[in-house]
């Protein structure tokens, strides 16, 4: 570690200054002791506890007795598991611009490969009522990213980090993605110093359930 420490410092110094120098404050900056092997990590990682299986999730359940074949076909319900990450709307739709890029990238990929869309943005979702522990930590209005692909939601949790992750079952997609009406408005950022303008308000509309053909 010491060796690489001086390497770093020396190289930076060399880079910037062209001088074979070691800063006198090195010991201040770089503790040279090894990590204690006893300092191990916490075994519980919150946010991943809801996670059960890494593989995909479709669970179709025939809910009715199959005595009458026509009736069976009609009343067969498909109970699916939906996975989501949720946070306040400002975070999800206004601040995290890379989130918009990821969603459009995924949509493009689905279109290129003719894959049916399996992810949606739900503004103020009704299913949140089932999660009092989540909602009490949530600023409102809230926005959830919902998908039947739980593995992907785990990835999105890794990317977004400041989101809560859960899952639920629903009988139909309409039930799964139902939302309460709410008007969104985001204050303009105090100072916008980027050499480009923000993504347009409303970019998320193509991901709302009402806009997708299947719902």
């Amino acid at each position: 570690m010491l060796a690489s420490t001086s390497l770093n410092v020396g190289s930076l110094g060399g880079l910037v200054l062209n001088a074979p120098t070691h800063y006198s404050h090195k010991s201040l900056l770089f503790p040279a002791t090894k990590s204690l092997p006893l300092l191990t990590f916490p075994t519980k990682l919150s946010g991943t506890t809801a996670w059960k299986s890494a593989t995909s999730v479709k669970t179709a359940v025939a809910a009715v007795d199959s005595s009458d074949p026509t009736e069976k076909e009609q009343e067969q319900t498909e109970k699916k598991r939906y996975y989501f990450v949720v946070a306040n709307a400002k975070f999800m739709l206004d601040e995290e611009e890379h989130f918009k890029e990821l969603l459009f990238e995924r949509l493009r990929n689905y279109e290129e490969r003719n894959i049916e869309q399996d992810f949606w943005l739900v503004i103020e979702p009704k299913f949140l009522d089932k999660f009092p522990n989540t909602t009490k930590r949530l600023k409102r209005p809230a926005v959830a990213l919902v998908s039947t692909n739980g593995t992907w939601i785990t990835y999105m949790k890794l990317r977004l980090d400041r989101v809560l992750q859960e899952s639920y079952e629903a009988d139909s997609i309409e039930e799964a993605l139902a939302s309460n009406p709410v008007d969104l408005a985001f204050e303009k950022p105090e100072k916008w110093t980027a050499p480009y303008s923000k993504y347009e308000f409303g970019w998320w509309e193509s991901f709302l359930p009402s806009k997708t053909s299947k719902v």
């Binding site: 690489s4 001088a19 770089f30 990682l45 991943t48 992907w152």
Partner: protein
């Protein structure tokens, strides 16, 4: 693009450092003795562009981003699922699915605009672009080599992590190849096989590979997306079509960064003590300062594409820092105006240092003149390092999580 793990050399694909510090950074002093070769030909046609270009000269002219290597045995230990039975694999499995999807499989397809744009470029702008392509290609290629080797070495002990490394090396190879084809527009090509053998490798322990590579990937994302979005709104500055590919391209960089996040979260001892905080701040500062100083020496490039170099850099630094605060346990307070003031003072001192190098003085006199400047720079750096940091980290690990409102 593990390539530009700052500290040492360039930080991001465009920013490149001075191969020999103290003398001019301008391309005009450099001899482009890039070896001509074509990756498509079976015979490596290695003809130096300048006829005098012997091996030594080639090495010098290619001395741009560094190549990295690490302690592969320690890496094997860290991610051995037999030894670490509690290793949280869910995030790796999720990442593997993303990398397997291969979003940019068909993205890197060239068209005739490239050659046409290159032919139109003349004089200094042409040289700036050649330099940019060359360094970027080397940087991507260096990432390819490191990830490829990690993919190979971890195959037995952790096939999932190994496969992700291999898929990331796929991305890097694709990026490097695309940039190398860009060089062909300027009738040049990097001989990557030769580079692999001829370049020196810099060693970093795994812990430092994680910090440095994470930052390198995330800062790469922010640089690319910023340039892309700026040029989309200001198409007049779009002087070479490669920038049009940046939007999709930089999503790869961002995902690579996510993978290093997951690697660190799986090894929380690299994130959860006071030493981790000191190292985190050190790596952030080194990466930001290196980029700022480098880019401020290459304002021609940024102004050439319509950007204000310092504003561009500050934007990238602030955004990268916000992103990094999702995983590093502490980050510098780069949004404090004092931070930028310190950076600007460092730029001034660095310019004085460069000026000393360009004088006709004998080496001893030069070195004497450098001493006060070096100490001034060192104290600015130290002062920046000691500025009150921001406590940060992933909510999966951070102590402040229970107070957080989502």
């Amino acid at each position: 693009m593990a390539a530009e793990m700052a500290l040492v050399k360039p930080i991001s694909k465009f920013s490149s450092t001075i191969p020999r510090i103290g003398n001019s950074r301008l391309p005009c002093t450099r001899i482009f003795s890039i070896k001509m070769s074509s990756t498509t030909q079976s015979q490596p046609a290695t003809v130096a562009k300048k006829k005098k270009g012997g091996k030594k000269e080639i090495n010098e002219s290619l001395l741009t981003p560094r190549f990295y290597t690490t302690d592969f045995d320690e890496m094997e230990q860290l991610f051995n699922t037999e030894i670490n039975k509690n290793l949280n694999m869910a995030e790796f499995e999720a990442l593997l699915q993303e990398f397997k999807t291969d979003f940019n499989q068909t993205h890197f397809v060239r068209n005739k605009e490239f050659k046409e744009a290159a032919d139109k470029m003349e004089g200094p702008l042409r040289q700036i672009f050649v330099e940019f392509l060359e360094r970027s290609c080397t940087a991507e290629f260096s990432g390819f080599l490191l990830y490829k080797e990690l993919g190979r070495r971890l195959k037995k002990t952790n096939p999932i992590v190994a496969e992700i490394f291999s898929l990331m090396s796929r991305d890097e190879a694709r990026h490097a190849g695309f940039l190398n084809k860009g060089l062909s527009d300027f009738n040049l090509a990097l001989d990557l096989g030769f580079l692999t053998k001829a370049r020196k490798y810099t060693f970093f322990k795994p812990k430092f590979i994680f910090y440095a590579t994470y930052l390198s990937e995330k800062i790469g994302y922010w640089r690319y997306i910023t340039i892309y979005r700026h040029l989309k709104e200001n198409p007049d500055y779009q002087c070479y079509p490669i920038f049009k590919y940046f939007e999709n391209w930089c999503q790869d960089e961002n995902r690579h960064g996510d993978f290093f996040s997951a690697l660190m979260k799986a090894q929380p001892q690299f994130l959860n003590d006071w030493k981790a905080k000191l190292w985190s701040r050190f790596f952030c500062l080194s990466v930001y300062v290196t980029m700022y100083l480098n880019d401020c020496q290459r304002t021609d490039f940024y102004e050439g594409i319509g950007l204000n170099t310092k504003e561009f850099d500050m934007h990238v630094i602030i955004e990268t820092n916000r992103t990094t605060a999702r995983i590093f346990p502490a980050v510098p307070d780069v949004e404090n105006p004092e931070f930028k003031r310190k950076l600007d003072r460092m730029v001034e001192i660095n310019q004085q240092l460069l000026a000393v190098g360009q004088t006709q003085d004998i080496p001893l006199v030069k070195n004497l003149k450098r001493i006060p400047l070096i100490s001034a720079l060192a104290s600015e750096l130290l002062a920046a390092y000691l500025m009150k940091p921001i406590e940060s980290g992933s909510v999966d690990l951070a102590e402040f999580e229970p107070q957080l409102v989502y």
